[in-house]
C-alpha cells in the first residue's frame, strides 16, 4: 500500500541539499549548533525536541527524538512528561483563547 510516510525517508533527510545546497548546508549547520550542549544540556534539548515533535505531530521527529532521548539516558516517565508538556501547551493555547470569546460575549450581550 502506498503511504505518504515511510520510516526509510528519515534517513534521506541529509539529501535535501541535492536540490538546494547552500540553504541545506546553512540549515544543518544551524541545526547542529542548536542541539550542542550550551546553557541547556543536550539531554534537556532532546526532551524539548521530543515535546515539540508531538505538538507538531511529525512522525519523523517522533521517531528520531524517541531514540535520541533514550540514548541520552531519559526514561519512559520523563519522556511521557515531555509529551504532556506539549499537550498542555496545545490544550492551553485553545483554552486561553476563550478569553476572546468571553470578551465578545460581554461586548454584544445585554
Amino acid at each position: 500500500m502506498k503511504t505518504y510516510y515511510n520510516p526509510e525517508d528519515l534517513k534521506k533527510f541529509g539529501t535535501i541539499g541535492e536540490l538546494q545546497k547552500s540553504m541545506a548546508d546553512k540549515f544543518f549547520a544551524y541545526y547542529g549548533e542548536v542541539f550542542k550542549e550550551g546553557a541547556l544540556t543536550a539531554r534537556e534539548k532532546s526532551l524539548i525536541a521530543l515535546g515539540v515533535a508531538h505538538a507538531l505531530q511529525c512522525p519523523y521527529c517522533i521517531d528520531a527524538y524517541t531514540t535520541d532521548t533514550l540514548e541520552k539516558g531519559c526514561d519512559e516517565e520523563q519522556m511521557m512528561e515531555a509529551v504532556h508538556v506539549a499537550a498542555a501547551i496545545r490544550g492551553g493555547a485553545s483554552l486561553v483563547h476563550s478569553t476572546q470569546m468571553m470578551n465578545k460575549i460581554k461586548e454584544i450581550s445585554m
Binding site: 550542549e37 543536550a42 539531554r43 533514550l70 540514548e71 541520552k72 539516558g73
Partner: protein, 351 residues
C-alpha cells in the same frame, strides 16, 4: 530464563553468529569492518603495548541478563581451575608492561578459587591494578558472599559494576526482577566500607549500557545524571560511569534478530564509525583469557571462539609475548560496536 546454550538455541554456536554478522551485514562485504579499517590505514589491526590482562573466570553467574554477551547464567558450569589460574599468575609476574588485571565472568566471585587468586595476584604484583567486574547482586546472593566488599578493600581491588539505569523498571527489564533493589543494597554495602567515597582511594565505577537497540549517549552527561539521581534518591556514591555499547553477539544478537532490529542497529553502528575510536580500541593493549586458558584479542572474540592469530601461542601454557606482540588482531563486523560514536571498551568511551 535459561542460557542460549541450555535452550539449544542456534545462536549458542559461534559459527552461526559469525554467519549472521557476515551474511546479513548492511552494505555487504564492501561495508564490512575490514574495509572500514583499510580505508583509514589501520588494517591489519596491530597491538600497541600489552597493558591489560583480562581474565574470564567462567560463565557461571547468579543472573541471566537479557543482553549478556557471555550467555552466562546458573546453568553454565564452565569455570577456571586453580591450575589455569597458576598459569595466569606466571604471565602476570613476568610481563612487566601489564598494569591491570581485569577479572570478569560470569560472576567471577562464584569461582571457588576466586579469593585465593586475587590474594595471589596482589602478592606477586603489589602495585598492579586489579579490577573485578562485580554484578552487585552476588554480594547478597548467599551469606558467604556478604563480606566481599571487605575482601575487595583489603586487596585494594577496583570494583566495576553494571547498573543500566537509576530506576527499577529499566534495570529489572534487562537484568531480571528485583535486581535493581538488590544492586542498590549492594552499592550501599560497598559505600559503607569506603568504595566510591572521596579520599579513600577505593574505586567504584559503574557501567551503563543501553536497554535496547540504541547507542549510549554522552558518557559525561550520563555520569552527571546518574550521580545526581543515585545520590538524591538512594544516597549512593560512585566514582565514574563507563558508557558501553552493546556488541551484536550472543543474547543481544538474539534480541536484535527476534525484534527485527538487527539491520537498523548495524546501520547505526556503521553510520557512527569513528576513526579516532578505532585507533583506541581496547584489543590493542589487552589479552583476554578464557576459562580454559585459551587466548583471545578481547572478551567478545572469546565468546565467538576467535582465538588469537598466533599459531604457536594460543594457550597460556605456550605464552610467547613476542609472537603475541606481532600478531594481527582478529576482526569481524561485531567490532563496529567498539568504534561507534565516542567508542566503547570495558573502560567506557575511548575518544
Amino acid at each position: 530464563m535459561k542460557s542460549l546454550k541450555a535452550q539449544l538455541h542456534a545462536l549458542a554456536d559461534p559459527e552461526e553468529e559469525l554467519d549472521v554478522l557476515e551474511s546479513r551485514h548492511p552494505g555487504g562485504d564492501k561495508a564490512n569492518f575490514q574495509h572500514h579499517l583499510d580505508r583509514i590505514g589501520l588494517f591489519p589491526l596491530m597491538p600497541t603495548k600489552l597493558e591489560i590482562f583480562q581474565i574470564n573466570m567462567g560463565k557461571m553467574c547468579n543472573q541471566v541478563c537479557k543482553h549478556c554477551h557471555v550467555d552466562a547464567g546458573p546453568d553454565r558450569k564452565e569455570i577456571m581451575t586453580r591450575d589455569t589460574m597458576k598459569l595466569c599468575l606466571d604471565v602476570i609476574q613476568k610481563e612487566s608492561s601489564l598494569n591491570c588485571v581485569d577479572l570478569t565472568g560470569g560472576a567471577p566471585e562464584m569461582n571457588p578459587d576466586f579469593r585465593w587468586f586475587v590474594t595471589e595476584i596482589r602478592a606477586c604484583r603489589p602495585d598492579i591494578k586489579i579490577i573485578v567486574r562485580c554484578n552487585l547482586t552476588i554480594i547478597l546472593a548467599n551469606p558467604k558472599f556478604n563480606d566481599l566488599p571487605e575482601f575487595f578493600r583489603e586487596n585494594q581491588v577496583e570494583v566495576v559494576s553494571s547498573l543500566p539505569y537509576f530506576s527499577a523498571m529499566k534495570t529489572d527489564a534487562q537484568r531480571g526482577d528485583g535486581v535493581f533493589e538488590k544492586s542498590i543494597s549492594a552499592l550501599k554495602l560497598l559505600n559503607q566500607v569506603g568504595y566510591g567515597k572521596e579520599g579513600t582511594g577505593l574505586v567504584l565505577n559503574l557501567v551503563y549500557n543501553p536497554s535496547g537497540a540504541f547507542l549510549p549517549g554522552s558518557q559525561h552527561e550520563l555520569e552527571m545524571e546518574f550521580k545526581k539521581k543515585l545520590l538524591d534518591k538512594f544516597a549512593v556514591e560512585f566514582n565514574s560511569l563507563f558508557a558501553i555499547t552493546n556488541i551484536p553477539i550472543s543474547r543481544f544478537l538474539e534480541y536484535l534478530l527476534r525484534s527485527d532490529n538487527f539491520e537498523n542497529y548495524m546501520e547505526k553502528l556503521l553510520a557512527a564509525f569513528n576513526p579516532m575510536a578505532a585507533l583506541g580500541v581496547m584489543c590493542r593493549n589487552t589479552i583476554s583469557i578464557g576459562w580454559d586458558g585459551y587466548l583471545y584479542d578481547c572478551d567478545f572474540n572469546q565468546m565467538l571462539d576467535l582465538k588469537v592469530n598466533v599459531s604457536n601461542s594460543i594457550h597460556l601454557a605456550n605464552w610467547d609475548s613476542s609472537a603475541l606482540a606481532d600478531r594481527s588482531i582478529v576482526i569481524n563486523n561485531h567490532c563496529f560496536g567498539c568504534t561507534a560514536g565516542a567508542g566503547s571498551s570495558c573502560g567506557g568511551a575511548t575518544s
